[in-house]
Symmetry: C2
Subunit: 208 residues, 2 copies
């Protein structure tokens, strides 16, 4: 189960998360894995190959997780709720890998970079389609699909940078807060483009 190849990978995830890819040396990864640095190269052809291996697995798992969660759901609102909730869950539960996947793309060769960005784009497209459909069906306001899809995804992803696993709130509680915040943002009950156009008084009509 826990082969040396997997051990190296998990040590690398810890270090890349904590210190960053460029600031982490092969020596440190070897030390953490309990072997000599030359032995790393039996399992991975280069440091970059190790990084790519981490990012590829993370992106593949992320997309598979989303597709599984969406399967069987019919209405758009449920779909986008589940998509947002699952995105937050995945990013908080696999915090370190996801943090790396969103901050260390510059460490990849150009071919590997393209491969990862392509996977990310595929994932983003699913979200954009959901928002677009929700808008067309009148569930969401007339929002800018592209900007808001980026906003929503980066918002949820950013959670991985400050999330504290032993903290005050559980993963699902945080996911609920995000889901609520985002759905209300998408529905845009208030026009809100000019100050005070949608004040506390007007809102009382909508509340509970």
């Amino acid at each position: 189960m826990s082969s040396m190849k997997d051990t190296i990978k998990s040590i690398a995830i810890e270090l890349f998360f904590k210190k960053g890819y460029f600031a982490t040396s092969i020596s440190e990864i070897a030390k953490g894995s309990g072997i000599q640095k030359a032995s790393i190269y039996y399992h991975y052809r280069s440091k970059e190959d190790l990084l790519f291996s981490i990012l590829k697995a993370t992106m593949d798992d992320l997309t598979r997780y989303l597709k599984n969660n969406l399967a069987g759901l019919d209405d758009i609102e449920s779909k986008i709720r589940v998509a947002v909730h699952g995105h937050v869950r995945f990013h908080l539960e696999r915090q370190k890998e996801n943090f790396i996947a969103n901050s260390e793309l510059r460490g990849l060769t150009s071919e590997h970079y393209r491969a990862i960005v392509e996977k990310r784009d595929e994932y983003e497209r699913i979200f954009q389609d959901l928002i677009r459909q929700g808008r067309e069906e009148g569930i969401f306001a007339d929002v800018d699909v592209k900007i808001l899809s980026y906003a929503i995804l980066t918002l949820c992803t950013a959670g991985a940078s400050w999330f504290n696993p032993g903290g005050r709130l559980t993963v699902d509680e945080i996911a609920d807060i995000y889901e609520k915040f985002i759905l209300n943002g998408l529905k845009q009950a208030c026009e809100a483009s000019a100050p005070s156009r949608c004040g506390a008084k007007g809102m009382a009509i909508c509340k509970a």
Copy 2:
């Protein structure tokens, strides 16, 4: 005006943004500045000192900008609108510095790290106070202040990672979209915690 010290700084901002702090060498910064690498050390005592100098100036300007924008405003809703709008503006207009300020903190010595985090905390506290006041005055829903302040700030900050200065939308247009999205998220017209509890039908009451 454009002293060599400033030139070095602006070249460093370009390179740290494009390649990352650790992946950028003093040689490259010197080459971009048109001098020899040893000459860098006349202006900055170390590479880390150069990074700190960039981050400190950015954080100081950010907080000063916020305080200036808030001065003279009375009602909380206007204040939070202006705070969000300004945060987005600042991050998009000084995209590179802000990107560095949010991704390269690990490159700092521990003393410098503490100094920057302290500035960031002070800035965050202003936002948290605004959300808290808005909640107490009944303008916003009964939201989790801490989580939502992080969410809002990271959301707006993330814009600096995908923003394209020559793209489809202007800085102010994007800031408007964010402002609207966030204000609606904070007001939470819909309870939204369980799927379909706040469907399209219920929303029709709130719309325009």
